[in-house]
Amino acid sequence: MLVRRYGWDGLLLEVDDPAAWFRTLRAARERGELTCEEIVPAARTVLLRGVRGEPRWTDLTPSAAPPAPPSRLDVPVHWDGPDLDAVASAWQADPARVLRETEFTVAFCGFAPGFGYLAGLPERRWLPRLASPRARVPAGSVALAGPYAGIYPRSSPGGWQLVGRTELVLFDLDREPPALLAPGTSVRFTDA
């Protein structure tokens, strides 16, 4: 692990397993062993913001990590995205079958409230972003870019390749918790 200072009250941890560190750090915060306002896992890092006092990292190394929470989400998908054929030809396989058979985990959230970066695709399935992003991607679109799959929580511009859509509402402020996806949630795509 490498700790980089990030401004006046931030620490950026470069770690091998950000999701495990996220769970460990959150548990430590709940126990009062870590004081900070935000814990933001990402692809290879965890950002702590509003940190008071540098924690004793040796006590926090995720060997003692609590197991991944049992939260699991099935996402029913209509496989009718505009890039479905392009993805099928890049993969030489049926995208619906590949995605149904892949066990995804939310590596981190970002981009928009409720958007989870879903890790689990083997490297040979990684895809580039579109050369020019779409001005409007409909809410619920199931999309692929780089090592990740994702679901657009609301209509927005976007450069990911669209393979389908779901009717699940990913982020709803009238629900507790509002986001269906949190770091560590395991996700399975099914046929709608």
Partner: protein, 325 residues
């Protein structure tokens, strides 16, 4: 209650922001010039955390449906209540039925209008702030919008009563009652100012620190300064404020050359992060920043200096200073 007669270019409700949801992709948001928000709240006797209205380039008007105390801080704009001048940086009464007009500030961008009791729209995830990036929080204000006002806070009253001379100063500063302003429109319910006896403080002087032609921002290098061939260039060059909004401010100036090519996997961002996209020209994130981003952050601006940047108009010169490491 307040009614928005005209919102100006952009008016939003803002408080100190929403903390603890960044892991879900929800940024802190909140007032861009936090010091100005806190001051406006203190002037009207509110806790500093109350929600107020953040105006962008002024040009707004509101009508009071109930009597409130108001104070404007941040970008100094001319004010008038029913056509009579009202002071900047000082609490003044806005009797029920009267209208407040806020003109165009000469310097700065964002003005903060606090009202006694605070703007009491329903909080979302613990904050009343509008997040312009994610769309969380109340909609930006539009003409005709009715804003509820809170009942005021007994704690603030208790605090004010222990300050020596505060009571006298308050009485001296008490605005004329409604009947002294325009008796012809006085209705049975609209007469007096809030009868708390604990109005806001009078102050003789509120320092206005709006940037003129140039600003100096403290930075600390990192976390990705090692991605640039000479990150110290940031401190040696002068930059110019370009396009900006609540998400961030673009700076024009000599591009920073990268030492590491390739893409950085997305990582967490915070307000003040000086991110350098592919064209080498820095962008400083403000309150509505995305929670993660994939361009390297060369340095971070001190949180206390972000208000200055949020008030700097396009064309303002920007100098960074700080330790070389």
């Amino acid at each position: 209650m307040l009614e928005v007669l005209a919102p100006g270019p952009l008016a939003t409700v803002q408080d100190l922001g929403r903390v603890g949801y960044a892991e879900l992709g929800v940024s802190r948001s909140g007032a861009l010039d936090i010091a100005a928000l806190r001051l406006a709240n203190r002037l009207v006797g509110n806790p500093e955390s109350c929600a107020a209205i953040e105006l962008t380039y002024g040009g707004a008007a509101l009508r009071a449906h109930t009597s409130v105390w108001c104070a404007l801080t941040g970008a100094a704009a001319p004010l008038s209540v029913d056509g009579r001048p009202a002071p900047y940086g000082v609490a003044f009464g806005l009797p029920a039925g009267s209208s407040l007009a806020i003109g165009l500030p000469r310097y700065g961008i964002r003005s903060y209008l606090a009202v006694s009791g605070g703007i009491a729209v329903a909080p979302v995830l613990g904050s009343r702030s509008t997040d312009t990036l994610s769309g969380i929080g109340p909609e930006p204000l539009n003409t005709g919008r009715i804003l509820p006002v809170g009942p005021g806070d007994p704690g603030a009253r208790a605090a004010s009563s222990v300050l020596p001379g505060a009571g006298d100063a308050r009485r001296a500063a008490a605005p004329p009652a409604r009947d002294a302003v325009s008796p012809e429109v006085r209705g049975p319910e609209t007469g007096a100012m809030p009868a708390s006896g604990a109005g806001p403080f009078a102050v003789d002087f509120v320092p206005a620190t709006m940037p003129g032609g140039e600003i100096r921002l403290r930075v600390r290098r990192g976390p990705r300064d090692d991605w640039f061939s000479d990150p110290g260039e940031l401190l040696r060059h002068a930059y110019t404020v370009g396009q900006g909004d609540r998400i961030g401010v673009r700076l024009d100036g000599p591009p920073l050359a990268r030492a590491v090519t390739g893409e950085l996997p997305s990582e967490g961002l915070l307000a003040g992060a000086v991110q350098v996209p592919g064209d080498g020209r820095p962008l400083v994130f403000l309150a509505d920043h995305p929670t993660t981003g994939g361009y390297p952050v060369v340095a971070v601006v001190h949180p206390a200096d972000l208000g200055l940047l949020a008030q700097a108009r396009p064309g303002t010169r920007v100098f960074f200073h700080g330790s070389q490491r």
